[in-house]
Symmetry: C2
Subunit: 104 residues, 2 copies
């Protein structure tokens, strides 16, 4: 009935891991696991929904177009408004970074 967000992480591969935990009418809750992954150079996310995101383990840097980078450590959260261009420019290479994202 319950699951644990830190368990059953996939083995490190060359791709970031995305898992839908819950979804409903315009809302999606997602687990993301990164192992040093970043958004490919010169690519920007430009999402149609807001993304409220928290890092629960590990560490990451999100870059925004024409703005300062934002570093996220365990427990840090941020809202990325729809269509705000951003990319993940760094995640901790030696361990997994676990994100919880709410797209709405």
């Amino acid at each position: 009935m319950t699951k644990n967000i830190f368990e059953n992480s996939p083995k490190p591969t060359d791709k970031e891991f995305f898992e839908e935990l819950f979804s409903k009418e315009g809302v999606k809750i997602e687990r993301i696991v990164s192992y040093g992954h970043t958004t490919p150079e010169l690519e920007w996310y430009d999402q149609r929904r807001d993304e409220w995101v928290i890092v629960l383990k590990g560490e990451a840097v999100i870059s925004f177009l024409n703005e300062d980078d934002v570093r996220l450590q365990a427990g840090d959260y941020i809202n990325i408004p729809a269509h705000k261009k951003h990319r993940v420019s760094w995640t901790k290479p030696e361990e997994e970074t676990v994100w919880l994202a709410v797209h709405c």
Copy 2:
């Protein structure tokens, strides 16, 4: 620009702490901090929206009407469908329990 869900917790009081972190058209993301708090005896939550909830620190037990209790430790998450009667029957008394809830 970022905040940390484990920081700036209120001092323990006789009331549970609720803080809205983000909200938008039918979605509310909330931080809850419990210090041994429970739902008053014989009271049941009967909510009009689903509540997807994860314990990020501490430990808790949720009781459901006519069902087994569910114990949640750090990282454990569960979805409580709208109108499913439930109560928080126990939270760890010696330390804070930090919950992240998405109501949608």
